[in-house]
């Protein structure tokens, strides 16, 4: 695209800063406005992100991939029957459908220590790209530490709080939910993890949860995310709660490595 080969465009003499961030910096300007190219690039990214919200997740494919890793899963549906309802009725996305409850009741409920839930949320691409690789690290770790787990629950049109009902059903202390975050222009495939200790359906609130967000190619790596989650699990087992009063105090190795790179202060 060479839409801006015009003398009106003022380039920013700090374009080498783009090496440090995926943010849209040093865009230049015409007068004090955005040049045509940057303007159209934003429109393009918006169109892609809008589409990402509406592409459905391949649940069967995800179940197969987990199966190949040696893990059973079950696919459940929330009470939001389609994406349009899901977007406008978060209350329904927090509740299990009648058929999902039947499905849980049919499988003999063995009491478990932890439940792992995967929900499509607002970005199927996030789950498509990151759920299986992250679970391939998390699940062996939980098992090695003696946690009893029911099959991984894959939830269609689920919100974060739908994990509470599942944890309660299995009488599990730990509720871990992986969910597709709202797609951003630069990261349409960002995954979040919410962790709740002793989750209770209709009672647990956001203040009872800890969140690890921005797991994607340019964001938090799987190893870092796992480290944070394990810290939260261990700390909550000692304290007896999760949420705002439980702080993630892990040392951030990514930050340490990048510290000397701060050109503004060196």
């Amino acid at each position: 695209m060479s839409k801006d080969d015009r003398s009106e465009i003022a380039q920013d003499p700090w374009s080498n800063l783009t090496q440090f961030t995926s943010a849209r910096i040093a865009l230049g300007r015409t007068g004090m406005s955005l040049p045509t190219r940057a303007c159209l690039e934003l429109q393009l990214a918006h169109a892609l992100a809008r589409d990402a919200v509406h592409i459905p997740l391949d649940f069967a494919g995800l179940a197969q991939r987990l199966n190949r890793l040696g893990y059973q899963s079950q696919t459940l549906q929330s009470q939001a029957e389609n994406q349009t309802v899901y977007l406008q009725r978060p209350d329904l996305g927090r509740l299990l459908s009648a058929s999902a409850l039947d499905c849980l009741l049919r499988t003999a409920p063995i009491p478990a220590d932890a439940v792992v839930v995967v929900a499509d949320g607002l970005s199927s691409k996030a789950i498509e790209n990151h759920a299986e690789p992250f679970l391939s690290l998390l699940l062996p770790h939980l098992e090695a530490n003696g946690y009893k787990l029911p099959p991984v629950c894959l939830v269609k049109h689920g919100r974060v709080a739908i994990g509470d009902a599942i944890a309660e059903f299995y009488k599990a202390r730990l509720c871990i939910i992986l969910i597709g975050e709202r797609p951003g222009l630069s990261s349409p495939d960002s995954m979040g993890i919410y962790y709740t200790y002793q989750a209770k359906s209709g009672i647990s609130t956001d203040a009872d949860r800890n969140c690890i967000s921005n797991i994607h190619g340019n964001g938090l790596g799987y190893g870092q995310a796992l480290k944070k989650l394990l810290f939260l699990i261990n700390a909550s087992e000692k304290l007896g709660f999760s949420g705002v009063n439980l702080k993630d105090e892990t040392t951030d190795t990514a930050l340490e490595n990048q510290q000397q790179a701060n050109f503004l202060l060196d």
Partner: protein
């Protein structure tokens, strides 16, 4: 009590709470909560009835019971009947007329602030059109100070928001410098941390403090962590300028945020004790947004706009430097499309200003809402015309950490240009002194970065 006839249809609204909800202009969150009017006629009927309700009635009929809710107690106990006197004889409809009349001036509006209950303000906004919301808000003057003066006439400030998906210091610094060189950051340099982590919070706080100190920028910093995290950071001696917290309009919703008035009070005093403001002591930064109470299932049967305005009662108790309604952030289940977002942003600004708050607006939307850049341009322009205190400045409007679109550095320049608005005076002087802006507050055309930052940038040459 709240009854009327329209044509052959009679309408009977059982309670003031019910009447307020039905009179609210349409928005998806009120449908979700099941409190909205069933159709247009019922909405207009409610607005007719609401217009005849005396303002005094709000003192007699609490929308959320006094015994159950500390926000209600804060509102009722803090009500100043002396300040209310000027308008105590008015109905909601009269109050709209008064606000638009020549009797309402910056002085008279400031004088009635302690006599206004949030519910009275929410009520009148429901029968005001967008031009009314703009005109009345424009008359209000709310000035706050920390290291700069925010809210003077014909000034529009910006929060520089250099977020990064992993809080990488160089990544944050790159966006920060880009913003400064585009003239942004006089309201605050405020980072939303990606992780809820004490170490990361401390690192960001120290970094922002070092940048402000080294380059002598007349602004203040904020890391938008939970108030309990900021208290921990203060405990460890961190350089905290502004304490941030998201707040809501019911006790239950605040519970779900893990806060209450005592905790906010503790944080407010901790920040005051640091005495870091050079021009003034406004040291709190609050964020709000319609729908937050409902999303925590804590709306107490109220419509979302009334909930929102009650949050401003919480805010005003702590004399904040900045209050920001993050209007389109919460998603289409609360504000469905551009039209709903635009009206909500202007309502929030009007209501906050009338209650004496330095109201900014995060003019924004998410990718699952029915909105686009055109809608944001409409809200941005109308907000600035209404005398809005500050907006966000995000590189290219795309927040790469929070995953939504806000206003860009270019957007701020656009709206200042169109409406003749200037940055805060201290920051304006800094921009001109360092040849970022010329004397007319336009970006200077130059082949090299301003001298102040040349050394930092030169080090990077060849490091691609």
């Amino acid at each position: 009590m709240y009854k009327t006839h329209l044509g052959h249809q009679s309408y009977d609204f059982k309670t003031l709470r019910n009447l307020m909800a039905k009179a609210s202009p349409p928005r998806s969150g009120d449908y979700l909560a099941g409190v909205a009017a069933g159709n247009n006629l019922e909405r207009v009927a409610a607005q007719w009835v609401l217009a005849d309700v005396p303002l005094k009635q709000f003192l007699n009929e609490a929308l959320v019971p006094y015994e159950l809710d500390e926000v209600t107690r804060l509102i009722i106990d803090g009500h100043d009947s002396g300040a209310f006197e000027t308008i105590s004889h008015l109905t909601v409809g009269d109050f709209r007329n008064w606000l638009l009349s020549e009797h309402a001036t910056a002085e008279t509006l400031t004088a009635i602030v302690p006599g206004l209950m949030p519910e009275m303000v929410a009520a009148v906004s429901k029968i005001m059109r967008i031009q009314d919301l703009i005109l009345a808000a424009k008359k209000c003057r709310v000035i706050t100070r920390f290291r700069g003066t925010i809210g003077l006439e014909n000034r529009l400030s910006t929060r520089l928001q250099p977020n990064h998906p992993t809080d990488n210091p160089a990544g944050v610094a790159a966006s920060l410098l880009d913003g400064l060189l585009y003239g942004c950051g006089d309201a605050v340099i405020g980072i939303n941390p990606a992780s809820d982590n004490l170490e990361a919070t401390l690192r960001l706080l120290h970094m922002l403090d070092d940048v402000i100190e080294r380059y002598q920028i007349p602004t203040q910093s904020c890391v938008l962590a939970h108030v309990t995290m900021t208290l921990k950071a203060i405990g460890q001696g961190a350089p905290v300028d502004l304490v941030f917290q998201s707040i809501a309009g019911t006790q239950k919703a605040n519970d779900s945020f893990g806060i209450n008035l005592n905790l906010l009070n503790e944080a407010h005093h901790a920040a005051l004790d640091l005495k870091r403001g050079t021009l003034g002591g406004n040291c709190m930064y609050f964020e709000t947004g319609q729908g937050s109470a409902l999303s925590a299932n804590a709306h107490e049967g109220l419509d979302q706009q009334t909930c929102e305005v009650r949050a401003y009662a919480v805010a005003r108790k702590f004399k904040p430097l900045l209050v920001n309604t993050v209007v389109g952030f919460i998603g289409p289940e609360y504000l469905y499309d551009g039209k709903q977002i635009i009206r909500a942003g202007l309502e929030d600004h009007f209501c906050g200003k009338l209650l004496g708050l330095p109201m900014g607006c995060d003019v924004c939307y998410t990718n699952h809402a029915e909105a686009d850049q055109d809608d944001m341009d409409m809200l941005l322009t109308a907000f600035a015309a209404a005398g809005g205190t500050f907006i966000m400045g995000v590189p290219g409007a795309d927040d790469v950490m929070l995953n939504y679109q806000s206003t860009s550095f270019h957007d701020a320049l656009y709206v200042r240009q169109v409406l003749g608005l200037r940055p805060a005076p201290e920051f304006e002087q800094w921009l001109q002194q360092h040849h970022i802006f010329n004397a007319d507050n336009q970006l200077l055309q130059q082949p090299e970065a301003p001298a102040l930052f040349k050394a930092s940038l030169q080090k990077l040459i060849g490091i691609r």
